[in-house]
Amino acid sequence: MSVLVYIEPREGKFKKYSFELVSYGQRVASALDQLLHILVIGKVAREELNSLGQYGATNIINVSEDIPFDDQVFTGIISNFAKQKEANVVVLAHSLTGRAIAPRLAIRLGAGLSTAVNGLPASYKPFIVNKKAFSGKTLVQQEITTEVKVLTLSQNTAGITEHSASPVIEEINSDAVASATKVVSTEVITGKVLLNEAEIIVSGGRGMRGPENWKPLEELAQILGAATACSRPVSDEGWRPHHEHVGQTGKVVAPSLYFALGISGAIQHLAGISSSKVIVAVNKDPEAPIFSAADYGIVGDLQSVLPKMTEAFRKFKAS
């Protein structure tokens, strides 16, 4: 029996989330006293694969082909390795791809599934995990009662642990089947920090007053190496693109630092940001509910406060 972790390279490189997943796999495998297998689909350089050893990867399977993503095709590849390696715990990222594959994979493996789990299992026998429900309003403990388990791990909930190993790398070709879906075109956002990878997020709400006022917000984001985000009405009004919408019906984020600028703090918005380590709120209304979710607050008008913030952070970064 073994633990299988599936990680996704982006443009041939691994991001922090992948290191967290490998660390997680290492700790689960060692608790269960089982072998850890890391599965990577995509062309990745040797050194990049070797670097996973730092986090405890001992056995790496690399399907070194660039296969267009398709739910069924990837489910097929991963489930084949899971069966071949007799994996009884399969771990994926709670990313867009992880979410797409995990439910299919669970059915194919006859496994129980828990998505967006927080941190390590609370117990292995019985197998108990922690997660959130009701969009962050409650924490639940769940038991997965099947022999084989599939998990998606929430980002930044387990941390990265160093654990040096020299991995054995097996490079193989997939027997990928033809997919029923056909990709017509792909559009990639370049030169921007992605919301789900961002350590810092600068987010604006209706209190920003209009799309023309986003310039200082974008400047602040750039100075901090942050991603930009917004509340739902802001994207509904077309002030900002939909992929920036954070909250219950948008993206759930977990950065170290979240700036909520002119956001009232409606419960549906908080649902998307409650896992942030530190929240800074700026709002002209001292009674705004965002202040009860924030760690640091400024009461003031953004028209004057935001340019001051941008300047002050610029100075700080330059010093």
Binding site: T138, V184, S185, M309
Partner: protein, 249 residues
């Protein structure tokens, strides 16, 4: 082609969650029930498509797995514009048992586009759509943010890490939709509410299936400590706190 929209009946998103003594069950007394927000958007898009492609789309059916208390939510979906409704008379236990019931009803539907939401706003399991597709051995596309029927082809845009992809898929398929598919959900019109009363709502019996995951315990998340207020004339203090105290910059 028929469109099926899977509807999850969930507490209103502003509901304060309370538990029954022992913290093993949620206390649903006094809760306002709604159509899961993503399912509402899926239904909205289905209706728009039917209006635009009268010939291509015969019928929109909403389907839910739930006991009789889920019927007002199904009636609301009919009032918004679905043609008929199916309720599988089983209390949902986990994502797996729910998907099994849906698959049992939908497996005979070959000329169907099946829509589900990315997640239910109650248990946030992100599971039922993908499980259903696998049980039906049908293609699935998740994180779908736009859907069109062009010359009989199903054309969707899906969000991917750091971008988006336009894809065509075959029938039957399961599309797992998110925001963007529609922006503003349709609300029932007066006439819709009247006609919904007489639209067909079929109740079918479920099949036996065993859950794979069970909830052991609920807990309220830890409260944040109070917010530290900073003078807008003293941004340097904020920077200093973020740097030295919080250590996030």
């Amino acid at each position: 082609m028929n469109i099926f929209v899977c509807i999850s009946n969930v507490p209103d998103t502003t509901t304060r969650i309370k538990y029954k003594p022992g913290n093993k069950e949620v206390d649903y007394t006094g809760v306002q029930w709604i159509i899961n927000p993503w399912d509402e958007l899926a239904l909205t898009r289905a209706i728009e498509l039917k209006e635009a492609n009268q010939a291509a789309i015969q019928k929109i059916t909403v389907i839910t797995v739930g006991k009789a208390d889920a019927e007002p939510t199904l009636r609301k979906a009919l009032a918004i514009g679905a043609d008929d409704a199916i309720r599988v008379d089983v209390a949902p236990e986990d994502a797996y048992t729910t998907a099994v019931q849906l698959a049992e009803v939908l497996k005979s539907e070959k000329d169907a586009l099946i829509l589900s939401g990315v997640e239910s706003s109650d248990f946030n399991s992100w599971s039922v759509g993908g499980m259903l597709a696998e049980l039906l051995d049908a293609p699935s596309v998740s994180a779908v943010s736009s859907l069109n029927i062009e010359a009989g082809n199903v054309v969707v845009t899906r969000e991917i890490e750091g971008g988006k992809q336009t894809i065509t898929t075959t029938i039957p398929s399961v599309l797992i939709v998110q925001k963007g598919i529609a922006i503003i959900p349709r609300i029932p019109s007066m006439r819709g509410i009247m006609t919904a009363r007489t639209k067909p709502l079929k109740v079918v019996q479920g099949i036996a299936s065993q859950p794979m995951v069970k909830v052991l315990d609920y807990q309220a998340p830890a409260q944040k400590s109070s917010c530290r207020m900073i003078d807008p004339e003293n941004i340097e203090e904020l920077i200093d706190l973020l740097h030295r105290e919080a250590r996030v910059i």
